[in-house]
């Protein structure tokens, strides 16, 4: 395994800019690693080595010509397969979009390419981002590099596993109910959901439009901040994009000063149903932050208890509407078009064949929640709960600069264990989805390994809308202190993956 693979994105970029190593060497090292381990990990759905090497050489030519480069130029990256990029398929982990090539780049993609990042390929995900284990991918699950018999989280399990398996130093995720943060927690990596509207949704295939948000995934807090800086900012192509300066996340990540910061522990996000090792590492992380000068208080957000119910009505409602676009007419799969069947029959057959079980479940729940006679009782009630959750956050942020909780109640479970138990699967998102409903910024940072099973635990930090920088301040403080305590990054302790020789 090349020594370059263990470097941070910041170090790789600095080395490329200084001519110590070329982007081509760095890119080739990661492509070789993917070749060697991805048959087992299956973090990628599509890899285009030729294209990546060409992009890398273009950066190297700029270095040679002395042209100014962005802070991550030449660094390889994996892009979640829900964001469009010309020249590569976008499948969203669905049979519906097998081999579909989008005709335009997502804004996030465009910004990555303009900043000189080298896209290695597209990462695996639960179908249309519906799931918490990546087992709902129509192309097979991703495996957790910490223990390949376990789930890597979802929906962005591919993006998280690619980082933990050293297949890429940076990846992009999207977070509707926890799809960046929960995979980050269970793979011992960093994942950030920016404030809703902080990153553009243009070119992101929509699951639930009022909740979806792209964000950075990385192995270090500074790398995530640098990537956040590249992709964030106003986009006229997304009407919900915030027209305001991006919070200074990079300075916050470099500082890591939490002295005097008021940190609120959310009472409702812990206790019964939480694994002992998760609670232990969470408590230790909070004590650590307190020792660094933060003021820790307990806060109560009683409406969070209703968040799961509200979320699993609002999200399927929006999904059932968004996924109506997969009608077999303009893109993707078409089944049964034999000249005798009507458009509607073809549509029904295509959606039967193209969607997996979880997508069907959610579309039908959404259809039910929005149908006449039930709308007020279900969708309407859920929207009111959303108001109460926002109010709880507002009240808590009056007293605290940030809130903290475990990212997810358990460590990663064995593949297959919750596949046919949707409710057990949904509970993995208990702690993460309030921030989607309220639109505030939130992140997960590595907090250690649970003593009972040696698997990763994440600390979730939540900040008010447009105070994303506070996430990085807390994350950097924790990372610095824990790395010192551990004598190196958490991922140094990951078991070695068997490499297949090329």
């Amino acid at each position: 395994m090349s020594e370059l693979l263990h470097r941070t994105a910041a170090e790789l970029a600095a080395g490329i800019a200084a001519g110590e190593h070329s982007s081509e060497e760095v890119t080739r090292a990661h492509l070789d690693r993917i070749e060697a381990v991805d048959e087992v990990v299956h973090a990628f759905l599509h890899v285009d080595g030729e294209r990546a090497l060409e992009a890398a050489r273009a950066v190297d030519a700029k270095v040679a010509a002395g042209e100014p480069l962005g802070p991550l130029a030449g660094v390889p990256l994996g892009l979640k397969d829900v964001l469009t990029m010309r020249g590569a398929p976008t499948t969203c982990g669905s049979r519906m979009l097998r081999d579909w090539h989008p005709p335009y780049d997502a804004t996030v993609t465009r910004r990555l390419l303009e900043a000189g990042l080298v896209v290695l390929g597209k990462t695996n995900m639960d179908e249309f981002a519906m799931g918490s284990s990546t087992e709902n991918s129509a192309y097979g699950p991703t495996r957790n590099p910490w223990d390949t018999s376990r789930i890597p989280g979802g929906s962005g399990g591919g993006s998280a596993a690619a980082l933990a398996a050293f297949e890429a130093p940076l990846t992009i995720g999207t977070d509707t109910g926890g799809s960046i943060r929960q995979p980050a927690a269970v793979t011992g990596t960093v994942g950030v959901k920016p404030t809703y509207g902080g990153t553009s949704r243009y070119g992101l295939v929509a699951l639930a439009s009022s909740l979806d948000q792209p964000g950075p995934c990385a192995r270090t807090v500074l790398d995530a901040a640098l990537l956040h800086q590249v992709i964030a900012g106003h986009d006229p192509l997304d009407s919900t994009s915030i027209d305001a300066p991006v919070p200074d996340v990079v300075t916050a990540a470099r500082s890591g000063d939490v002295a005097g910061m008021r940190i609120g522990v959310v009472r409702e996000l812990g206790g019964e149903g939480y694994a002992p090792g998760v609670e232990q590492r969470f408590t230790e992380a909070v004590e650590l932050l307190s020792g660094l000068g933060a003021e820790v208080v307990e806060v109560s957000c009683p409406s969070f208890d209703a968040a799961l119910g509200a979320y699993y009505l609002i999200m399927p409602s929006e999904a059932s509407s968004n996924l109506a676009r997969f009608d077999a007419m303009r893109f993707g799969l078409r089944v049964g078009d034999d000249g005798t069947r009507s458009a509607e029959e073809v549509m029904n057959l295509t959606r039967e064949a193209g969607f997996g079980a979880e997508v069907k479940r959610r579309i039908i729940i959404g259809t039910y929640a929005l149908s006449s006679g039930y709308y007020d009782a279900y969708y309407g009630s859920a929207q009111k709960v959303r108001t109460l959750i926002k109010r709880d956050f507002d009240a808590a942020f009056e007293r605290c600069d940030v809130l903290v909780s475990p990212t997810t109640p358990s460590t990663p479970w064995p593949l297959g264990e919750r596949v046919d138990d949707p409710l057990a699967m949904y509970k993995a998102d208990l702690c993460t989805l309030p921030s989607n409903l309220a639109g505030n910024a939130a992140a997960s940072f590595p907090a250690g390994l649970a003593p009972e099973d040696g698997l990763p635990v994440g600390l979730q930090v939540m900040a008010p809308p447009m105070a994303d920088d506070r996430l990085y301040r807390v994350g950097a403080a924790l990372e610095r202190a824990l790395t010192e305590q551990w004598g190196g990054p958490l991922l140094n302790r990951i078991p070695q993956l068997q490499e297949v020789s090329a």
Partner: protein, 98 residues
């Protein structure tokens, strides 16, 4: 409230998804459990609470009504299941009797 296979068949029809008997049998109890677990949201908020549809306040966004280049036609049709004469080709829309 128990969701029957007939209910699920009706919802699947509304959602334009063909479902087999086996799938209906499999899905109905699962959907019933999910709906039961989310039904408690009805008891949480009183009538005086305003609904929230978006996390942050939305304002309508306008742009000048100017002609701008669209996606190239061939790029768009390249992703279509079927195309003919520079258009999307779709199955018949009207019934036989029409």
């Amino acid at each position: 409230m128990a969701l029957t296979t007939d209910d699920v068949a009706r919802l699947a029809k509304l959602a334009r998804i063909e479902l087999s008997e086996a799938e209906l049998e499999h899905l109905a109890p699962q959907l019933d459990v999910i709906l039961e677990s989310v039904a408690s949201v009805q008891q949480v908020a009183g009538p005086d609470i305003e609904p929230t549809s978006h996390a942050l306040p939305l304002t309508n966004v306008f742009r000048e009504d100017e002609v701008r280049p669209s996606l190239p036609r061939e790029d768009v049709l390249a992703g279509a299941p079927a195309a003919e004469e520079e258009r999307f080709r779709v199955p018949r829309i009207l019934g036989e009797e029409a």
